[in-house]
Structures are given as C-alpha cells and as structure tokens.
C-alpha cells in the first residue's frame, strides 16, 4: 500500500480536482438517476417504482428511441473521422515550422473553445438558413442552394460541418504527437528516396497510432454527447421531421419538456452502456493497429 502510494501519489494529486468533483457533485446524481430509471417520476408527485417497464417500453415500443439512435450513430460515424482527418491535416501543416506558429495554433484552437457555445450555434443557423451566408455565396456562382436547416435530407450535414470546424483539441494532441516522431526516421526515408506519401503511410501514421487512438476514443465519446449546438440549431425539437433528433436532445426533452424523469434516466443509462460498448470495441480492436514504442512484440 505504501509503495503504491509512493508510486502513484503525484498522479492522484493531479486527479484530485476531478475526483472531488466526481465524488461530491456527480456521483450522487448519477446513482440517483440509476434508481430513478426504475420508476415513473414527473417531478411533481413522488416517484413510483415500475421495475423494468421503462426499459421494456424503450426497446419494444418507442420508435423515436430508434430514430434518435439512428441519427446519433450517423452523426458519430460521419463527424468523428471527418474531424480527425481535418485535425491531422492542420496539425501537419502547423508542424512545418511556420513563423509565428503560436498565433496560428491559438487561432485554429479558437473554434473548439467557441464551438459548443450558444453564440456559434446561432451563427451556424444564420450561415445555413434559406437566405443565409452559404446560399448567398452559392448564388454568386449560380447555384440555388436549399434551405439547409429545413430539409431533412441535408440538415445533419450542417451539424457534421460544425463538428469538423471544431478540430482544435485533437489537433493540439496530434501536433504534440507529430513532434515526438524522431526526425531521423524521415531523414533515413529521404535517403532511401521514399516519397512524401510513402513517408506519411510508412512512418507518420504508424507512429502516430497511439495518438490517433486516444483522439478517436475521446472524440467518439464527445460526439455521442453532442447537445448544445443541436439544441439551438433544431430549435430544441430535433426538427425538421426528427432528422436532428440527437439522443441527448431526445433525452433532454423527455426529462424537461415532458417531465418523464424516470424514462429519461433509463435513456441516460442506455446511452452510457452504448458509449461504454463502443469504447470497449475500440480498445479491443486497437491491439491490431496501435503499437506503442515501448511495447515488446
């Protein structure tokens, strides 16, 4: 025990703010929501125990639950790779030692700080509205753009674009990863006359794999939890025609619009399990494509 503490104490000190927050603020409500998920609770009258009814209803009869899953999965599968590709591309450009790189890094990081804010979501509405910025630009080149936010077949892409634009956090991590790749590997490749493309696939990607994996897991979890932007952009409804019915938005409306706290709690726990399952799958497959430098194999 003493040895364990000696070895890990600094780690726990760094974790302390988070641990305090978790145990004193989050843990209680999390457990309460697990209990509530087995009840019917409208916030005005006391909760009634209903066993597994909420879960049974969800899987057997709730069509909007499946719709929300479909929308959310589509979003995750589209936005996460897109964001990672953009983040890596920008990181590689910034890695080339441009002058005043600090300014560029800050500039490119800015959207991710602003990204989840209400102001940016409102701005996004303006950009993609029927007579918005995007269509005004398209009109200049003779394209008559649709009303992006009123058309269910394209509305999701507006959210994906917003997610792509918020590449800052993974970009910084990629940048750090790129910096840690030994330069002599590239020099050796140059001598062997390997093309830049070949260098990218043979050196950069494999050595970056742990960082890619880390970013993938974080961004996936993040994407499942997308809420602020979609709440604003779809007017809190998931409209048009449920095409933006993100899981979290559905959960929020069930809880705070229709006062079904029990059902919303059950939805929250199912989301937790889904995220856990995806993270687990990512970890299981990672042994086939992620190699750590200090690994002996």
């Amino acid at each position: 025990m003493k040895k364990f503490l000696q070895k890990n104490a600094p780690g726990y000190v760094f974790l302390a703010p988070w641990l305090v927050g978790f145990f004193f603020l989050a843990a209680g409500p999390i457990l309460a929501s697990l209990v509530l998920s087995f009840t019917k609770y409208d916030m005005i009258s006391p909760p009634q125990f209903v066993g597994l009814d909420q879960y049974i209803f969800m899987f057997e009869r709730d069509r909007r639950f499946y719709k929300a899953l479909q929308v959310t999965f589509s979003f995750v599968f589209l936005s996460v790779p897109a964001r990672l590709i953009v983040a890596l591309a920008i990181a590689m450009i910034l890695d080339k030692g441009i002058r005043a790189i600090g300014i560029y890094r800050a500039l490119y990081y800015l959207p991710s700080i602003l990204g989840s804010s209400i102001a940016v979501a409102i701005l996004w509405r303006q950009v993609f509205a029927g007579e918005g910025v995007l269509n005004t630009i398209l009109a200049q080149v003779g394209i008559d753009g649709p009303n992006w936010l009123a058309n269910p077949s394209v509305s999701l892409y507006t959210l994906v674009t917003l997610a792509m634009w918020q590449f800052g956090a993974p970009m910084l991590i990629f940048l750090a990863g790129l910096r840690s790749i030994p330069q002599d590997l590239y020099e050796a490749a140059e001598i062997d006359a390997a093309s830049k493309v070949r260098q990218f696939f043979a050196i950069t990607l494999p050595l970056l794999a742990p960082v890619i994996f880390f970013n993938l897991v974080l961004q996936m979890i993040d994407a499942f939890k997308t809420f602020n932007s979609v709440f604003i952009i779809s007017n809190g409804l998931g409209s048009p025609a449920d095409s933006l019915l993100f899981y979290t938005l559905y959960l929020f409306n069930e809880a705070f619009k229709f006062f079904r706290m029990g059902y919303a709690s059950a939805l929250a726990w199912v989301l937790l399990l889904i995220i856990a399952a995806f993270t687990f799958i990512a970890f299981m497959t990672s042994r086939y494509w992620v190699h750590y430098e200090n690994e002996r194999d």
Binding site: I44, N235, S239, A241
Partner: protein, 429 residues
C-alpha cells in the same frame, strides 16, 4: 503604517470577511425572510419591464417588504418550475397556464385561494367566467391575470395596397385565399400569409369548427384524420397558389419567436396568434396592425374560444401567504399597478380595471380591446384543459406536418399517421 506586516494585513482581512459573513447570516434571519416573497413568471422584454415596475410600486407602498422577481422565457419556464417543485423551493407566486393548472393543483403544488378571498385577496369586481376558468374541483387555484382569444393579425397597409376587401370578424378561408393572392400579386410582400400547417392551435380551431370538441371530454384528440387531411390540403392549395409561405420557410420558422413571423419581417400580410400578443406585435412593426377572427370554414360550429391567457398561483412553498395574496390582489385591482400592466398579459378580468384603462389606451391596445369586444358572442365555450401528453401530441403534429410541407407524404397519409401516434402518446401519458 510601516510596521503593518503581511501577516497582520491578512489578519485584518480575515476579520473583515468574518464580519461580513456574520452580518449576512443575520440578514437572513427568519423574520426578515417572511417579508420577502418571490414572484416567478415567463416573460418577454416588455412584460418583464412592466412587472418589475409593479414590484417597485408594491415595495414603495409597503415599506419593509421585498419582492424578488424571477423571469425566463416560456420554454425554460416549465423546466425550472418542475425542478423547483421537486426541490421544494418554488417561488411564493408563480405564473400559471391553463394547460398545467390541473396537474399542479391536483398534486398539491399550488394552494386554493378561497381562504384569502375577501381578506387579503379582493376579486369582487371579477367577471364570473374569469373566476371559473381558474377553478379545479370547485376551488379557486389560479387568479386570472388576463384573457385572450385566437386572432388573425394583419398589416393594414398591405391589405389596402392589395385592393382586396374582407370583413375581419366574419370571413372564410376562401376570402383568405382571395386576399392573400392579391397581397402577393399587388404589394411588396412576397407571400400573402404565414403558413399554418404546423400551427396546432389553428388545426384545433378547424376541428372545432367541424363540430369536434378539442380535446374531447374523455381526453382523446378531437376531429378525424379526414378533417386534418382537409386542413393540410387547404394550406397546400394556398401554397400552390403562391398565397402562403413556401414549405421550407414555414419549417424553418418552427419554434422561433414573434419577431421572425412573416408579418413582422414584412414578407407576408397575415400572422396568427393569441390576442394579448397584438400589443407586442405592434411594438415590432411600423405599419399599423389590424385584428380579425380566424377564418371560417363554413362548418357552422364555433371554433374560437376566450381563454385565460395567464394565471397567478400561490404555491405550497410560500413563506408568507398573507403578503403574497395581498400582492396578488394589488396586481388585479390597484389603479397604478393595473395601469402599468395594461393589456400585455391579456384583457383584465375586473370590469372596474377595464373601464379605468379605457381612456388611455394606445392604438394597439385599442385594436386589442375592440377586437375582444367584437368576438363576444361569436366564440364557443372554453374546452376542457388538454390532457397530459398534449404537448407531445403537438410536437408529433409538427413532425407529420413537416412531411406534408416537404411533399413527402399526402395530407391524408400524414393525418392518419398523426392520429395513430397521438393515440399511443395519450395512452402512455
């Protein structure tokens, strides 16, 4: 000063902080708290300004009393109220809506006002109908702070320029088609009218005109799928004729505020809402607004009704019911307070207040009051309050309506699907 060390300085600051903490603890002693009541309402900028003025007035007239005003928009209001109900810290007085009144009353979250009537609460000049609207199981749980009815609001300049004429108090959807086409063709407005395909209130009116009570006594949705199909079909025809906004515009306006309606942006000549909003609409426009009833289907039944637009209720968690009801009483009787409030929340229930306000009406208030007088006798009875689940049915209605607006479904298919979904929502709630 030179020998003031850092340590001493910290000691002084700590003592000061302790003193502040101690005095603030005393400031919230039990006695002081009882003279401080909270009033919570959903608002808009104009309503908030008026309400805070009334609060100031009440504090001036009652020294030692403090009223804390808390306001948010409609959609966040109910979330916060439910959270406070669960947490046992509701404000003393809350604004209440007809839709939620029965739920809150029957679950004991708000109190009956009957014990205070004639004591701290004076309702002697109230219309009986206004009192009845706030009763649950025979007891008064909610004080009417304004009444309203559905209204077609129009831009009088555009109507005049269009050259078309109609009688706003008795007109049909054929008249709407004719006038709206004329507006679109002869004026600067892009369309004649806002599209109502996603407006639940107006579908209710349509169904009631077809002779169905909405909601029915047993809590089921009124009308038949065919009625709804007819409603959506008619709006499709209006859109096809260029009289109503196109479908995508109508969809993108879903859930937005009155400042984005076609009437305010000048793209149409007609919008539809509740009559207490006439004053707010006029404040956003330069052209003069007019008010008319909803168009007639020729169905023979009365579709519109007069409804309490807002109530004030005394909550279970009140710290001083006497003071709170006295504040309530001032709200609906005090000459200065009622003058500040005007008609923003609806037509006052007290005949004395109405008469006192009459000479100083603004033009928009005059439109509002004249309209309210004109519809008397032309409206039906107040339907029973919507059942639990009604809000969700409303959302479902908008989803199926969107499919019609996008041309993905025929009006009849969408209507049938909506009725199926509404049945299962109401069965679950």
């Amino acid at each position: 000063m030179t020998n003031l060390t850092r340590r001493k300085m910290l000691g002084v600051m700590a003592a000061g902080a302790g003193g502040v903490a101690a005095s603030s603890l005393m400031g919230t002693s039990a006695f002081a708290q009882e003279m401080r009541i909270r009033h919570y309402w959903w608002g808009n900028p104009s309503r908030d300004e008026r309400t805070f003025k009334v609060i100031e007035l009440f504090q001036e007239n009652n020294p030692g009393v403090e009223v804390a005003g808390e306001t948010v928009g409609w959609s966040d209001y109910w979330t916060k109220l439910a959270t406070q109900t669960a947490g046992g810290n509701m404000a003393d007085l809350v604004q209440m809506d007809y839709r939620y009144l029965f739920e809150y009353a029957r679950r004991g979250a708000i109190q009956p006002l009957d014990p205070y009537i004639g004591n701290s609460l004076d309702v002697s000049n109230f219309d009986q109908s206004a009192l009845d609207g706030g009763k649950v199981d025979g007891q008064l749980y909610a004080l009417n702070i304004g009444s309203n009815t559905q209204v077609s609001i129009f831009n009088t300049r555009l109507i005049e320029e269009s050259g078309a004429e109609f009688d706003p108090i008795n007109w049909t959807y054929e008249d709407l088609m004719r006038v709206a086409v004329a507006v679109a063709e002869n004026t600067g407005a892009t369309f004649g009218t806002d599209d109502l395909s996603l407006g639940y209130v107006f579908w209710e009116d349509w169904a009631q005109q077809a002779g169905h009570q909405f909601y029915a006594e047993d809590g089921s949705i009124g009308g038949r799928p065919q009625d709804l199909a007819d409603f959506w079909q008619m709006w499709t025809e209006l859109r096809d004729a260029g009289a109503a906004q196109d479908g995508e515009t109508a969809i993108s306006l879903l859930g937005t505020g009155m400042n984005e309606t076609g009437l305010v942006t000048g793209t149409t000549a007609f919008s539809y809402m509740w009559s207490n909003q006439i004053v707010g609409m006029q404040s956003l426009m330069e052209d003069t607004v007019g008010a008319g009833m909803l168009p007639n289907t020729g169905g023979g039944s009365l579709g519109q009704f007069i409804k309490p637009s807002m109530f004030m209720s005394l909550t279970r968690d009140t710290v001083n019911a006497e003071l709170a009801t006295q504040y309530m009483s001032d709200w609906v009787n005090h000459p200065e307070a009622t003058a500040i409030l005007g008609l923003e929340r609806g037509i006052p229930a007290s005949s004395v207040v109405r008469d006192a306000l009459a000479p100083s009406f603004t033009p928009a208030e005059k439109v509002s009051v004249d309209y309210f007088s004109a519809v008397q006798g032309k409206v039906g009875a107040l339907p029973p309050p919507p059942p639990a689940g009604a809000g969700e049915v409303n959302d479902a209605f908008q989803r199926w309506g969107t499919e019609v607006l996008l041309g993905n479904m025929s009006p009849l298919d969408a209507a049938t699907a909506h009725f199926d979904e509404a049945d299962s929502i109401l069965a679950r709630a």
